[in-house]
């Protein structure tokens, strides 16, 4: 996997500090599973956080704090909740297409998902996350356009299979696009393979074409 488009340093920092909401963190974390380069950057940022912490003036803890901690580590651990049966992956010995943490969030690998028809040949799978943002898996048919749209806020797109391109470039598996209010783009899925991507939006997309805008509430996008 050759990744050429990475999350911005701002986004990685917000992830490293813990400031990022769940849906956005999901997109960043899934990219990190695929991208050693960005993992390295995040580790460097965390090292900076640790370095800043080391420079704080220390605050004494309670006298019996260590005793309390020892009591806790000696306490029998609560029995772990029974692990849910792992969702089926493609086949024994082959790599799942969706990496963690995404696979758990959508409830399995792509072959096992209940896709929801979006119209225009596209499908989606909404992913429940806390906060006002929306995360969804999108499947755009090979060679087909995604309706041209602008954004009312930030939109993140992480390609997981296939590829798409728009006027900003070509995005293959692992590539990460950050689009803001200013980008009015018309992504096309590359030929040959359906494009599967994780999309996170801050607000409903605003489509340029009036007819699409009218059906937008029906499509749920």
């Amino acid at each position: 996997m050759t990744i050429t488009h990475h999350p911005s340093e701002e986004l990685l920092l917000d992830y490293a500090t813990g400031a990022l909401g769940e849906a956005w963190s999901l997109a960043v974390a899934t990219h990190l599973a695929l991208c050693p380069v960005c993992r390295q950057t995040v580790t460097e940022m965390e090292a900076i956080g640790a370095g800043l912490m080391a420079r704080l003036e220390t605050e004494p803890v309670a006298d019996d704090a260590f005793t309390d901690v020892l009591e806790r580590i000696d306490a029998p651990l609560a029995p772990p909740a029974p692990a849910p049966a792992p969702p089926p992956v493609r086949a024994a010995g082959t790599k799942p297409l969706l990496p963690q943490p995404l696979r758990d969030y959508v409830g399995g690998d792509v072959a096992h998902l209940n896709w929801q028809r979006l119209g225009l040949g596209a499908y989606q799978k909404l992913i429940p996350t806390a906060g006002g943002s929306t995360a969804r898996l999108l499947r755009i048919p090979a060679g087909q356009p995604v309706p041209e749209h602008g954004h009312r806020g930030l939109e993140l797109t992480l390609v997981l299979d296939g590829a798409f391109s728009d006027q900003t470039g070509y995005y293959g598996a692992g590539d990460f696009q950050e689009a803001d209010d200013n980008l009015q783009h018309q992504p096309h899925a590359a030929p040959d393979t359906d494009c599967i991507c994780l999309a996170v939006t801050e607000a409903p997309l605003k489509f340029k074409d009036l007819s699409v805008r009218l059906v937008q509430p029906l499509l749920g996008i």
Binding site: T17, A19, L32, A33, L34, A47, I48, M53, E59, V69
Partner: protein
Amino acid sequence: METCLPIQHAAPSEPTAGTPFAWPLPFQKSKRVERQRVNSVPNETADQVAMTAPETSVEALNAMLLAVAVGQDRAAFRGLFDHFAPRLKAFVRRQGTDPQMAEEVVQETMVKVWHKAGQFDPAKASAATWVFTIARNMRIDHLRKANRPEPDYNDPAFVPDAEPGAVDRISRDQEAGRLHAALTVLPEEQQAVLRLAFFEDKAHAEIAEELGIPLGTVKSRIRLAFKRVRSEIGEIR
């Protein structure tokens, strides 16, 4: 989400609380050696050298964490506690957390350090960085009640790092040392922005609002700070 609720139970089985941490010298030298020797050398050997300096070295912290991971070494854990707990408390207090809650978060963080020590990999991060990430997650978990998804290193779909060459890669320990030096010389305005980001987990836009400066200025200060720190660390990648 994991929880670490306080549980009432019996007294600790060993009177280790008052034992000053002491660390045999060979453990400070090489991580390879430590892994083998932690099991073979009992804690109460005669050639221990007390580490009383308030600043414990990066290598010593890593060695202690490995000793906890491999041998559930309580003396080493005491050393980690003495070093990190007062720093963790300062860190948690920076969020405006009241002292009692801060104490609770510190204790839970150290309990987690004990239980998760086996996951510590000194090739990935220094002990200080690793403990910092546990504290950060604890803060998100405990104070903000939010989820922070993370990649899973054991997932078959996880793309591992390329094998690092022994020569072209400075060690995490050296990196931590140089990082410390780099942070010392960072201009105050850049440090201020980083502190808001890491201590109060404020996003870029919130930092701009708090400092009353444009978002672009926040971004450029953070970029400059990273550039500076990276060049000081002497990144050779």
